[in-house]
Symmetry: C2
Subunit: 408 residues, 2 copies
Amino acid sequence: MWQKTLDRVLRSLISNGALRVTYPDGTVRVYGNGTEPAPEIRIKDKALLARLCRNPELAFGEGYMDGAITTGDSTLEGVMRVTIRNVAQGNFPAVYYWKDRVHYLLRPILQRNTLRLARRNVAHHYDLSDDFYRLMLDEDMQYSCAYFATPDLTLDQAQAAKKAHIARKLYLKPGLRVLDIGCGWGGLALTLARDHGVKVTGLTLSQNQHDAATERAARAGLQDRVEIRLQDYRELEGEFDRVVSVGMLEHVGAPHYGEFFGKVASLLKPDGVALIHTIGRNGPPTNQSPWLKKYIFPGGYVPSLSELVEPIAHTGLWHLDIESLRLHYAMTLRCWLERFDENLDQIREMYDDRFIRMWRFYLTICMLVFEERDQTVFQLQLGHRRDAVPLTRNYLYAADGQMRDAAE
Amino acid sequence: MWQKTLDRVLRSLISNGALRVTYPDGTVRVYGNGTEPAPEIRIKDKALLARLCRNPELAFGEGYMDGAITTGDSTLEGVMRVTIRNVAQGNFPAVYYWKDRVHYLLRPILQRNTLRLARRNVAHHYDLSDDFYRLMLDEDMQYSCAYFATPDLTLDQAQAAKKAHIARKLYLKPGLRVLDIGCGWGGLALTLARDHGVKVTGLTLSQNQHDAATERAARAGLQDRVEIRLQDYRELEGEFDRVVSVGMLEHVGAPHYGEFFGKVASLLKPDGVALIHTIGRNGPPTNQSPWLKKYIFPGGYVPSLSELVEPIAHTGLWHLDIESLRLHYAMTLRCWLERFDENLDQIREMYDDRFIRMWRFYLTICMLVFEERDQTVFQLQLGHRRDAVPLTRNYLYAADGQMRDAAE
């Protein structure tokens, strides 16, 4: 009975490209109409069929983690690309989008992030072993979208280019006080302090990251210019010349955006510049994948641009610039996936196969939503004054040296 | 009695800077607390007092036009800067903002722009004498925000830079078909056709502009590459590689944004690029000045960024880039005011003193809202595909020639 239902769902869903499904009883069906060989999934457990009908995203992810769904000779990327593309095009039976809508309306409850919850959610993800992250990320441990200033950059170069791009947008001068909300392992804080002579206060909620970043600052001899605090940004007081936040807003949750941007405004000096770098959506607001929420980012939410712009309008802050980095995060995630695969032997010594499948599923679907759905990365440059940065964006693009002179 | 009320309103309003008011009965009051000599208004007609209390913006503008309010030895700019700054800071008694709120809620009715109304509204403003506009604008008759690529550009250079900036954002190749919605006197259409080898269809609702632009195309020998149509964009069918609209959205009205961006999406080819250039607001939505609406732009409305982003999200179009030009329009309007004043003798031969005061009031308050309120100019670059333009914005800033090569 559930097999019939799932068959109907898949006939409705797959119309762009094709997908081959082997059911637990050995039945093989090809959905859609691709000319190339269809990527394949094999469902091995009959009990999964009902769950796939009722909660497809969560059940698929869990089935894959548990080995109850495999992709045969196909790649997970091939299977998920067809699936995600067709979901993005609205080919699911309507009932699934209604469910989405209900979850969306429940956001004020579902995305509550108290100080305590926020700490727990962060620990869930960022307190994994540093050694593991080191095998996936670049040398500086940048766990956010890189900037491919030219498409041929390596991951390390693109992460360095990202930090340089952000530094330019922050319009730095030696001696300025910079606040980095969600500083991760401190890479950006160290770079800004070392290359631009500023003083950085970095905030993180991860004990792990706090200790690692503090140690790095000491090792680099920057302990008098970089201070890392284990603190929620909501509890911080003070005034800063610059505020930067990279890949943190995704953890804030839509009901808290007013609070977030209000706090940024109050921490920022009258002539200051803030740069908020976050994953976002082009289209209207929608929900997170329930699988991602359960296994990877509890409390996480990817905002639509309108959900960001609205609360900002009420802070009185100026939009000095808005950049949409679009495919850069897909390229970054592909690099992480490659490094993950290259280092698989070492990772197997740390984690079991279920974790490894979970992590591959996470990286793969995240990469694909940037290629097939409406996800992008926004860099929002904000300030109290309309003239906090120069009149044109030339200063962001002129060859170094000349850059600042030309802008002033 | 009304003098007392107005006195109370002004005591509440003016707290940043100072304003000197001479009442019809000769009483002189100084409001606020400036150290510099306070700019001055003289109210000469007792009947104005009640109207200034009830509908201050409209009454002040009309009083100034009629000569019943003068600025003594002060400049209109000085008087209006203090006034607008304090209104922007929320210093009006609350009742005025409530009134604003009611008007805002009535937008669906107040901003209805049927095909017929749209034509009439456009004729009101753009069918003024071309000779008059020629005395105020640059040689190419660009009646929209210029782009001061460097702050020392002349008006003519800055308008040329604006067209070049837009051309870069349109990512043109010879032979492409470009639609220009609201083409004015055809300056942008002619420039794109001549400098970039594209074919341009320009739309205007002004008979005046239609005839002038058509004649200019013929004179430039571009009649086979530039077609000017007297047509509402809502009535156009077809597909274009590029869609550009400069300074037209201000006439569309908020209830019609879904219709506008939906039409842009449907007129744009799958790999096309659109560039919408419009005045906008940083802060939350608010109303137009009732004076501007009555005398200058009937049917006009300046959207907040959130009012633009929301309807765009529902078209499926990608935000490829968003630029906020901030002070460029203030600089443009200052140039227009200077040219207006320089050519006053010639203008006096065309129009009476009331028109001249009306026009000075218009240019002055528009300039000041870009300097003192939350107004800016947004350039929204849109496309169906996330990769319709290159991965980074380098192509907009690289020195010519190399520019396109580097981007590809």
